[in-house]
Amino acid sequence: MSIHMPLNEHRAIEDFQLSAHDDHLEPGDIILDLENVSLAFGGVKAINDISFNIKKGEVRAIIGPNGAGKTSMLNVINGFYHPQQGTITYRGEKRTAMQSTEAAKQGISRTFQNIALFKGMSTLDNIMTGRITLQNKNLFLQALWHGPAAKEDIEHRLVVEKIIDFLEIQHIRKTPVGRLPYGLQKRVELGRALAAEPALLLLDEPMAGMNLEEKEDMSRFILDVNSQFGTTIALIEHDMGVVMDISDRVVVLDYGRKIGDGSPEEVSNNQAVIDAYLGVSHD
């Protein structure tokens, strides 16, 4: 039972779309809206009354010094942490406490600050795991395998191969991820997040610990994802140079509060932001 396709259809990789989670929104509409969100861990206020929104199709950067609440904010967006106050509206639907698996099913996928790849699996399997929310053949069909389950798995394998081709990691397709250098592991993790065909992609410091060349590659990939698939990207990043180049709008957090929001230029000459980064003492 083999899938043999003439080159054209098979090769139409360049304009393949990640459209499993398409929606009626036009680019520029608000895809995610956070209003007065607060999150605390037993007395420690990680996020303190923050409101901002993300527009569909834009690259939204979230920056701020260490411990400013950036990663916690990401965990609130994808339902891993549940804020004590505030509301989150995703694609027009107000969201109460939601399980993170539910967020994944609605098209939110992410990468992690310190790589959370499945060490026991190869690059291909890791990225295939990203397809889990889109596969639905039940347990018995999987047990039978030959027939619908195998056919579905191969269709998903084809999409994953297109992502592998897109990220130019063909040469490490079958290597266990544990043995890959840091830069490539980051790219595999991006591939896994893309495999879920997200409407909203959350990137948690995708370029931390990378040299200049790797940073350039990763930025190119992020821009290509945004332009070719139209995926909305929320990006946590320290390197101001990168933020200035590739983000459309920036929100600046400091000590769990929002101190700046706007285009990269506006934000970079906003005094509060400069103070926060230069470490001026707080009043």
């Binding site: 861990f41 990663t71 965990n75 891993f80 992690f112 600050q113 959370a116």
Partner: protein
Amino acid sequence: MSPEFLYFVETVLNGLMAGVMYSLVALGFVLIFKASGIFNFAQGVMALFAALTLVGLQTGQVPFSHLINAIFGTEIHHFGWTLPAFFAVLITLAIMVLFAYLFEAIVLKHLVNQEPIILFMATIGLAYFLEGFGDLMWGSDVKILDVGIPSGGSFWWEEVTRTWASEGSDYFGMYIDKLDVVAALVAVVLVIALTFFSKYTKMGRALRAVADDHQAAQSVGISLRTIWVLVWSISGFVALVAGIMWGAKSGVQFSLSLIALKALPVLILGGFTSIPGAIVGGLIIGVGEKLAELYVGPLVGGAIENWFAYVVALMFLLFRPQGLFGEKIIERV
């Protein structure tokens, strides 16, 4: 006081005694888990091995006699001399420390940063190894262990409690085994000594540091290996004491190693990392079991002793996964 109430008190008292025995074994688990993150499944077998060695030394039995006879066709069994209890205990302790040293050098050294599941399974392997080795060394027949601990019912206590009963009731006083009392006292002394040791002495503090973070402890110059040898020796000592108490009570036999399975629910209740937790947990399970046997048992066909503790622990676990005293685990991503 009415006989029923007195009977209830008696069950509770016996429950507490049994609870102390459980916490004694649980203590060994907690020590090793705190210091090395290993859930030492072989703690029960170590108690059995210690008891076997003690009896073997006391009765002057020739180690590996069974094996030697099989190979050389000889028939030697005993050296002929017997050893007073005190010396036997000391030598057994020395053997346990030697065992701790060997185990660390041969096995633990190679498994330093393996996942906990691998270490857990290594201790199951150790349990099997030690059981076979113990049987091989001292033979697998049931032995009577007597180290001079008074045993049998305490008539004095029966007399006193009979007077409590209200006039005319045919109550014959509570039956308390002297051995249990001694065991309880020894356990209390042991707990105090250990808590004192871990709080105030230099070695104790090092032990708690290692328990918290291996790398950090090493970075301040604490040698991981000596700490582990120390910890396994202490738990060897605790195993010896538990072995003596259990051995004296029900004889030295294979079932002794199953008490490890008994200690598990105790650890669940008390949490894996706190010494007071192990003690309180042990008492709760001890009393709970006895009361359940008394009241719930008949309804359900009796002998619910071996699974009741688990169900209690399980129920408790569902509401407070980290046990009585353990800290809440916050998952970071």
